[in-house]
Subunit: 671 residues, 2 copies
C-alpha cells in the first residue's frame, strides 16, 4: 500500500472477485505469531465474500515453516459471510497459515438450478450451461476422473426427459467429483502469511519452584552447594513441582557488594546478591565456586530430571564492577563524565552493585552475539528453560532476535519473562517471543480484580500470545495480602494460583513455610531477604503447607481441566468474599469447579450458581461434587447450591463434578 | 514479515528502542483510508513505549499526498503508554499520516536529576552528564541556538555552587531550547503510512430528493422533460433539499421492456424502467429523447445550482438487449449455450429487460475503461455526485479502481453506494471508496433497533469509513411501517432520518404525499410503481408534508449539531415507544435534543433523562428547551423531564437547548 498514491490502484487481475478480511487469530496484523503447544488446534475465522450472490470455495492453508507445500483444509460458512477452518499443529517449531478463496462456478450454477426447478422454470438452457462448466473442468482432472466428467457431460447432453436431466445434473456424485477440480485461476490469496509458534506441553502446563541453592546446606551457616541442592530434590519432587528454577548461579562481585537487608556496605562474611553477576572467577558462563563446579551443575540437572523436574536458570543480563566484560568490553557499559561506570538506578533508588549493559553502544552487535552465546552455553549444559530477569530493561528488538534465533534451532526452549511493569510493555514482550510471562496475579486479591484480570487474559485477544505464569510470591514480592493474612492467605493464594493458572510457581521454602515478615511496614521486601544472605529454613515447621501443595499439584496432574486456561469461567456467588470458577477439558469429560474464600480471617458461606447446560449437566438429575482437597463428596441438584468455607481449616474447595451414570441394574454411580 | 522465516529477525539498528503499535484510526491495518471533510480534525492515538523508563518524544507526521515533506505535530501522553496528536485536513484530496518517536536523552536525564535532587543526592556527576548531552546537541542547532547551547554548557561547567548549578540545569528555557534539536538518529518510524480521503462538506451534510423527471410534466399523460423538471425546482428547493437525484436519464430498451407493475410484457404505450438502459438512441452517454437533449440536461444542472441544489445521477452499469454495447462489445456479456445473452436474475426472480455486464470477461480492462469514461463524460456535463446502483453486483476491485481513479483528478466528486445487502459487503464498499452509503435505516423502527444500529454506525470503528445516508423510502422500498402507519409514520420517519443522519434523502413526491399503497400485501413495491410508468402526482394534496419537510431542513441548516453524526447519544426514556437522543456541535454551543414517538397510532408520554454535566448544563439552574418544530418553549430543570407526543398532531420534538445567561441587570435570558 505504501509508496503508491491513493489514486493508483494496481490491479493484477480485475476478475478476482473474492475479498478476505477480518482474519482471526492475527496478532498486530500478522506482525507477531500466535502461540500453541504440540497437538493443539488452530481455529481460523475470516470474513470472505464476493460481489453478487455467487457460491464460494474457501481453503485454509497451513504448513510447517520449512515445508514448501501448503496443506489445504476446506473452510465452512458460519453465516454472515464468516468462514471457519482449523488444523492441528503436530510438531515443535513454527507453522504458517493463510487463506485462499474463489467463486465456485459449479456450485453457483447448481444453487440457481435448484431454485429454478423449485419454481417450475424451464431449465433446458441452464442444463447446457452446466454441461459447459463440466466440460471445462474435465481437463483439470486426471485420466479417470477427467473421463468421468466427460461422461457426465455426454449423459446430460443426451438425456431427453427434462426431469431426468435435472436429476442427473443435481446428482451428489457429480458435486463431489467436480469439487475436486475447481477452477482457481481467479482465486484470491489472503495477502499475509500468519505464524504459529508451537511449543512443548510444559509451555502450557508447569509448576515452578524457585530455590536458592546456597541456602540448601544441611548444616547451619554453610554455603549450600549443587550437591546440597540435589539432596533437596526429593522434598521438592514430593510436592509435585516440575520446574526447578535457580536464581543466578554465577560468581558474585565484591565491589559495592550489598550486605544483609540490602545495606550498601557488605561485611566480609556477606555473600551478596546472586543478581550481582561477575567476579574475577568469571561471569555469566561461570558458576559460583561456593556452589561447586560446572560438572556439579550438570549432575544436578540430570538428577532433577530423574525426579521429574527440569532445571531453569536465570538470564540476568547485567554485571558487577568485577565482571570480566568490564575490562574486555568497556564499550558495553555507560561511562560517566567522572570516569566511573553508571550503576543501575531508578531514581531515587540506586543499585550500586549492578551495572546495566549499554544497549545503545555502537558495538551492539557484538554485545547481542555474546548474550546469545550465554544462552547457547547453558543449552550445552542441559538447560532448556530460562527465566529472563527484568527483560523490560533491555530493547524489545534484542529479545525478539535472541529468542527467535535460539528457538530456530532449539524449538523446545522456553523463556519466562520476569517483567513486572506496565501492561503494554508486558504484552509486547510476550508478543515478540517469550513463552510464558509473570503477571499481576500477586496483586489481584478481590473477586472483582480476579474476575476482570483473568477475563482479560483468557478471553481477550492477548491469550493468543500471552501465557500467564502465576506467582503468589517471589524473592522480590511479599504482598501485603500475605503479610496480613497469615497461613490461610498462603493456602488460598496457592489454590488460586494453581487452579486459575495452568502455569504457576512459588518461591520456596519461604512460601510453604508461610514466611511473611516484611523488611518494614509498607515494603514488599522480605525481612532478612534471601537475596542478600544465606537462609537456613526449617522445613519441618508444623505450619508447612507442603502436604497441601503436594495434594494440589497431584490434583493438577490428574485433572486435564486444570492443564490449560481458556476454559476458565467465573460463576455467580451471592457473597463478595467467595469466588467460584470452573475449568473443563475440551470434551467436558473432566470438569473442575473451584470455590475459594478470599477472606483469610472469617468463615463465609453463600450460594453459588452453576451454568448446568453449558457444563453438560442435566438440571433434572443430581450430580456429585467431589472435593479433591478434603475428599468429601456432596450430592447437588440444580444450578444453585450452598457452600461454606472456614479459612482456618481450609479456604477452598476443588470440586470434581461427577455425572450420575445409570447402570443396567439400575444401580447409580458417578463418573 | 512474509518471505522470511520466524527465526530470521532482520535488525536494521538494534539501538532503536521505541515501539509504536495500536495506532488508531487505522482501517484494516492501513489497507484503506479513513474519511474526513475539509476542516475536520484527525485525532491519532498510539501505544508508544521503549524498554526501561526513559522519556520519549513522539511526533505525529502528516502531509498532503503530493507533498514531499511531512509536517510534524508533537504527541501528548495520555497515560498507560498511550499518546495522542491531531491535525486538521484543510484541502480536498488525500492526506498521509504516520508517527515517529525516539528516546529523549535530555528529558530522561532531567527527570532523573529532579528525583535525585528531591532525594538530596549528590548530583555533581549527573550535571556533567547533562553538559555532555547539551554539547552533543549544539552542532545540530543553527548558529545562534548552537551558540546558546554551548553557552549553557560553559555556564554549567563553570558554576561552583551546587544548588545554583541544579537551578541552571533545570531551567525551563534550556528545556525549550534543546527540545528543538533532538537526536533522532535512533528514532523509530511507524512502519505504515496511513491515509485520509478528504471530501467536501456535502459528503457529511446533505439532503437528497429523488425525482423521476419523466413524471414532472404539468399535463397528465405527457412524458416529462428536463424543462418540466426545471419547473419543479422551486417546489423542491422550497423544501430545503440540496441534492436532486435523478434515476437513469438514458434511452430505455424495447426488447423485453416491462409493463406497468413490472409485468413481463409491455404494451405499446409503456415507458419501461429507466434502469433498463440502452436503445438504438444510445446508451449510458445518451439522454432519453423524451427528456430532451444533453443541452437541456446541462441547463437543468445550472438551474438547479442557482437554487442551491446539485444534480446527482445514477450509475447503473447494466444494459438492455438494445444497448449499443451488445453489438460493439459482445464479449462484455454472458452468453448462454443457446446463443442468447444471460439476463439479470436472482433465482427464482428474473429481470428479463436487463443484462448484467460480465466482469469476468477477458476484456475486463476495456470494460473498466469504458465505464470510467461514462463517469468522466457526465463530469463534463457538470455532474459531481453519482449514486451507484447495486454496486455489490460488480467486483469490489473495480469500484476501488474507478472511484480512486476519478477522485484523483476530481476530489470533489461524491459517490453514494446503493447497496442494500449483507453488512460486510456494504462496509467493504464504503472502505474501498464510496463517499456515502445507503443503510438499513428503513427497517430499523423500534427503539432497540435504532439504538443498536446507530451506536454501531457512529461509535464503532466503521464510522471512520462508512458515512450513512438515511432514506425512509426509495422507489424500491415502501416499508411495512410506512404502509401501516399512515401519515404519522411518514412524519416520524422523516424526523428520524433528518436528525439521526446528517445525510438523508427521500424519494418524492411519493414521500411527502404519504403514498403508501403496496403492490400487494407482503411486498415493499409500490402499487403502480413509478419505476414502470409515468406518474402524475398531485402536489397540492392537503396531507402533504412539504411544509414539515421545509421546516425540518431549515432546522438542519440552522443547527450545526445536526450537520454531523458522531456526537449522537441516546438518552433513557421510561417508555419503549419514545426515543430520545441528542447531537451537539463540538464546542457544545449548539445542542439539539430530539424526542420521537415511535408509535404512529397512539399518544405516548414519558420521563426522559438527560446527562446534564456531559451536556454542559448546570443541574442547579433551569434551562430552556425550544421546540423548533412547534416553536413552543419549556423551562426544564434537572435531568428528568416529562414529554408527551400525539402522533396525529406531530410525533416529535426537536428541542434546541438554551442555557440561561444572567445579564448585568439580573435579567435572565436563554442563549
Amino acid at each position: 500500500m505504501n509508496g503508491r498514491n491513493t489514486g493508483d490502484i494496481d490491479v493484477q487481475d480485475g476478475r478476482s472477485r473474492v475479498v478476505i478480511e477480518g482474519v482471526k487469530p492475527e496478532v498486530d496484523g500478522g506482525r507477531f505469531p500466535i502461540k500453541r503447544i504440540v497437538g493443539e488446534q488452530v481455529v481460523v475465522e475470516a470474513d470472505i465474500f464476493a460481489d453478487s450472490n455467487d457460491a464460494l470455495s474457501c481453503l485454509l492453508l497451513y504448513r510447517k515453516e520449512d515445508e514448501p507445500q501448503w496443506k489445504e483444509i476446506p473452510m465452512e460458512p458460519l453465516g454472515n459471510d464468516r468462514w471457519r477452518g482449523s488444523f492441528v499443529v503436530k510438531e515443535l517449531g513454527c507453522y504458517r497459515y493463510s487463506i485462499t478463496a474463489w467463486v465456485d462456478r459449479f456450485s453457483t450454477w447448481r444453487q440457481g438450478l435448484v431454485k429454478k426447478v423449485e419454481d417450475d422454470q424451464d431449465v433446458s438452457v441452464d442444463i447446457l450451461a452446466g454441461v459447459e462448466i463440466i466440460e471445462e473442468a474435465s481437463p483439470r482432472a486426471p485420466d479417470i476422473d477427467g473421463e468421468k466428467l466427460q461422461a457426465w457431460a455426454r449423459r446430460l447432453r443426451s438425456k431427453e426427459d427434462p426431469s431426468e436431466r435435472v436429476q442427473l445434473a443435481l446428482d451428489d456424485e457429480l458435486v463431489r467429483l467436480i469439487a475436486r477440480y475447481p477452477d482457481t485461476r481467479l482465486s484470491t490469496a489472503y495477502e499475509k502469511e500468519l505464524m504459529v509458534v508451537v511449543d512443548r506441553d510444559k509451555a502450557r502446563f508447569s509448576a515452578w519452584y524457585e530455590v536458592f541453592p546456597r541456602s540448601c546446606a544441611s548444616e547451619p551457616g554453610h554455603h549450600g552447594t549443587f550437591k546440597h541442592c540435589e539432596d533437596r530434590l526429593p522434598y521438592i519432587a514430593a510436592m509435585g513441582f516440575d520446574v526447578l528454577y535457580l536464581p543466578p548461579i554465577h560468581p558474585i562481585g565484591r565491589t559495592h557488594r550489598k550486605g544483609k537487608n540490602n545495606i550498601p556496605e557488605a561485611g566480609p562474611e556477606d555473600t551478596g546478591s546472586p543478581w550481582a553477576i561477575g567476579s574475577e572467577e568469571g561471569g555469566h558462563k561461570a558458576v559460583h565456586p561456593g556452589l561447586g563446579t560446572l560438572g556439579d551443575f550438570r549432575h544436578l540437572v540430570t538428577k532433577a530430571e530423574e525426579q521429574g523436574m527440569e532445571v531453569a536458570i536465570d538470564l540476568a543480563f547485567q554485571c558487577t564492577h568485577d565482571h570480566p566484560y568490564v575490562e574486555e568490553h568497556p564499550g558495553w557499559f555507560h561511562w560517566r563524565p567522572d570516569g566511573t561506570i553508571q550503576h543501575a538506578e531508578n531514581p531515587p533508588k540506586k543499585y550500586e552493585d549492578i551495572y546495566p549493559l549499554n544497549f545503545e553502544t555502537e558495538q551492539w552487535k557484538d554485545l547481542w552475539e555474546e548474550l546469545k552465546d550465554i544462552v547457547l552455553f547453558w543449552l550445552d549444559q542441559g538447560v532448556r528453560i530460562f527465566r529472563a530477569d527484568n527483560p523490560h530493561t533491555k530493547p524489545f528488538v534484542f529479545w525478539e532476535w535472541l529468542i527467535n534465533g535460539v528457538k530456530k534451532d532449539h524449538p523446545e526452549v522456553l523463556f519466562l519473562s520476569e517483567a513486572f511493569t506496565r501492561p503494554k510493555v508486558m504484552y509486547r514482550l510476550a508478543k515478540l517471543g517469550f513463552t510464558q510471562s509473570y503477571t499481576y496475579f500477586a496483586w489481584r486479591n478481590t473477586k472483582w480484580e480476579i474476575t476482570q484480570y483473568f477475563t482479560e487474559l483468557y478471553h481477550g485477544e492477548v491469550r493468543e500470545f500471552f501465557r500467564p505464569n502465576l506467582w503468589p510470591n517471589t524473592p522480590d514480592i511479599l504482598t501485603e495480602y500475605l503479610q496480613m493474612g497469615g497461613r490461610p492467605a498462603f493456602m488460598l493464594r496457592l489454590v488460586l494460583a494453581a487452579t486459575l493458572g495452568a502455569n504457576y510457581g512459588i518461591y520456596g521454602p519461604a512460601f510453604e513455610l508461610c514466611e511473611n515478615r516484611p523488611k518494614e511496614f509498607g515494603s514488599e521486601e522480605y525481612l532478612d531477604s534471601e537475596k542478600y544472605e544465606i537462609k537456613q529454613w526449617d522445613l519441618t515447621r508444623p505450619q508447612s503447607l507442603k502436604d497441601l501443595i503436594a495434594r494440589v499439584n497431584r490434583i493438577r496432574r490428574q485433572n486435564p481441566a486444570l492443564q490449560s486456561d481458556w476454559s476458565l469461567r467465573f460463576h455467580p456467588v451471592d457473597n463478595e468474599q467467595l469466588i467460584c470458577y470452573s475449568k473443563h477439558s475440551e470434551d467436558l469429560s473432566n470438569l473442575i469447579v473451584v470455590v475459594v474464600n478470599l477472606d483469610p480471617h472469617h468463615t463465609h458461606g453463600g450460594w453459588i450458581e452453576l451454568p448446568l447446560s453449558y457444563m453438560g449437566l442435566d438440571p433434572n438429575r443430581p450430580y456429585q461434587v467431589h472435593d479433591l482437597l478434603s475428599d468429601a463428596r456432596y450430592l447437588w441438584q440444580g444450578p444453585r447450591n450452598y457452600v461454606e468455607l472456614n479459612p482456618h481449616i481450609i479456604p477452598a474447595h476443588i470440586f470434581q463434578v461427577r455425572r450420575r451414570v445409570r447402570t443396567e441394574r439400575d444401580f447409580d454411580y458417578y463418573l
